[in-house]
Assembly symmetry: C2
Homo-oligomer: 368 residues x 2
């Protein structure tokens, strides 16, 4: 039996849209958390066919006393479409749910995105509780309010900024995650240290083995610090007009890898890990990051069990083309998040294109 | 050639989401209005196959200098679906429109709802200009920020509150509207007088003939006063938690008529007109509205060329069932907007059910 002593609470400050993130083991069973944040009577749990057998009954049990319904969507990024999204509305309307209802998103990033976007749009906005069940979604989707679905022509092209009433990050749900998924979450965690939190980066260097062994106290610590770091950036820039772009460290390179391989071949976190290595390499070539700092970055990524190199298929020209900005790159207009040190990131268009070409060549060679 | 002297400007005050409504003849040709409110370079005009041949070229001409594209949707409420809505995203992505783009909604309420909802969701929110081309949309959709699409199981079930950067209400576009559509818009205009503006109601009694003759000065006056009255209610209650419900005067009865006949058989404004008559009748039975005031209300509706009675198919029991609240009605829990005088409306659950039954019987008889 877990006690409240194990629960950490972090508040995301967004004025009247502020909300708490609860972090700890066994939280999905705690009826009192739901009761604090669900104002109406009707609750729709949105989950997928992988997560439902594991956790749906426990969540419904904790929600006893409410009028509960659930909708189970197919699992996977390629189901993040308008037509699957519409199944949530079918369920809400079949059950005659009103404007005072709440949606509970129980699953990873895809479920959080789709259920969150449905909550934003059902009758022009109802209550939302997020229960992220992967490490990636606990440290990423928990903060920022990004929701949406994919369009055939692009990822996350249709969506909304919509804040939940609370996030419940139950560290026990990570026990059912496979090692590869766990490592993918670590890529985003390492990213927060690199962006602006050198103390967190140093803590990760010492704690990585415990994290991979799924020590619950270490996981709670890592999740809390990640969410806190992200919350500071988001609070300063809720609608992503400026500083929030720092969160894209590793993502421009990573996005090219994901697109080049076809979505699903690599996990998002794996592509971001290589993207961080490339951003570090470019930063070193520009003289902004020391060799020692680059090595520490690569070592931590390797220690997390993440790849350090892009797949061999991606040569320089293909990379440039996938970044959709080949012309802009040559005129120095590509905006990248780079490093002036561990914990000192910046968004910049002002770098030597030759250094970028060298990084792409280097990583092209490495990958052979 | 029209001059700026003919243009009225009304500001809807919603803090950082405040915007102007421009009202007058020939405004869709005025490039300067677009230039003031379109910050980026890319502009997508969303319209339908009825409106496109009439006004699309003129709008595109006024937008010369921008990168303009257009998407022409099928006309009609039954096309207000997720799949037709997705055609707007197809067009935006085919043209590689970015997050700084603007959408221009050129058409009636359906186009305004769909294009507005697309603007709310494309890349999580882009700029929106509304050009309503029907009297109903000029006095209704211009203010309030309601956008959305229908679900098979209910109207406007999926949507967002999203404010435009400006509304351009060109009174000349009303010249291509048929008489029935014009009258349907009058029902909403009369509604504003009844809710809280007795002076406007009295003005309408004297101006109705000029309005039906499409006198541009009178139309501008009626549109401005309607939008101003609605803006006051919306500003006090942007997300429809309370006082904004007064705007539903006539709509609970009207909704039952629309649903009972099947959408499209009667125009929304026609159903609202009868709904207002029924609300007035019920208010009189409750002793809240004098016989003289009820007669003035009915006379003005009749003068506008609107129906005073529901179609004969709708008997009392059918009405109650269509209001989806038969049980609630009998326990006195139905919330209705009623009148304590012309210009003195209230939202209430506190009325004698017997009076409601009498109203339904009365209007059932009248319709035979």
């Amino acid at each position: 039996m877990k006690t409240d002593r194990d629960t950490r609470t972090l508040r995301v400050e967004l004025g009247e849209r502020s909300y708490p993130i609860y972090i700890g083991p066994g939280l999905i069973d705690q009826a009192s958390i739901y009761r604090q944040h669900i104002p109406g009577q009707q609750v729709m749990v949105v989950t997928n066919e992988t997560i439902a057998p594991l956790y749906l009954d426990r969540v419904l049990t904790a929600l006893k006393g409410y009028q509960t319904e659930s909708v189970i969507l197919p699992d996977g990024e390629h189901h993040k479409t308008l037509s699957i999204w519409n199944q949530i509305f079918d369920a809400l309307l079949n059950s005659q749910f009103n404007r005072q209802c709440s949606l509970v998103a129980l699953g990873g990033g895809v479920i959080g995105d789709m259920a969150g976007f449905a909550a934003a749009c059902y009758q022009r906005g109802v209550h939302l509780i997020q229960i992220p069940t992967t490490l990636l979604s606990q440290v990423d989707s928990s903060v920022g309010g990004k929701t949406g679905v994919n369009h055939l022509a692009g990822k996350n092209m249709i969506g909304a900024f919509y804040q939940p009433r609370c996030v419940i990050a139950d560290t026990q749900t990570l026990n059912t995650l496979d090692d590869r998924q766990l490592a993918a979450g670590m890529a985003e965690i390492i990213k927060y240290g690199l962006i602006d939190d050198v103390a967190f980066f140093e803590w990760l260097e010492s704690a990585m083995d415990r994290l991979l062994a799924r020590d619950p106290v270490s996981l709670s610590e890592a999740i809390e610090r990640s969410c806190r770091d992200k919350a500071i950036l988001v609070a300063a820039d809720e609608r992503e007009a400026g500083s929030r772009a720092l969160l894209n460290l590793g993502h421009t390179f990573g996005h090219a890898i994901e697109t080049g391989l076809g979505y699903g071949a690599w996990l998002h976190g794996e592509a971001v890990a290589v993207g961080i290595c490339m951003a570090a390499d470019l930063s070193r070539r520009l003289g902004w990051l020391s060799g020692t700092e680059m090595d520490r970055t690569l070592k931590l990524i390797q220690q997390a069990g993440l790849p350090l190199n892009p797949p061999e298929e991606l040569e320089r020209e293909r990379f440039l083309s996938l970044m959709s900005v080949d012309k802009k790159v040559l005129s120095g207009r590509l905006r990248l998040v780079l490093l002036k040190g561990i914990g000192r990131s910046l968004v910049t268009e002002d770098f030597d294109s030759a250094a970028l070409i060298s990084t792409l060549d280097e990583y092209g060679r490495n990958s052979l």
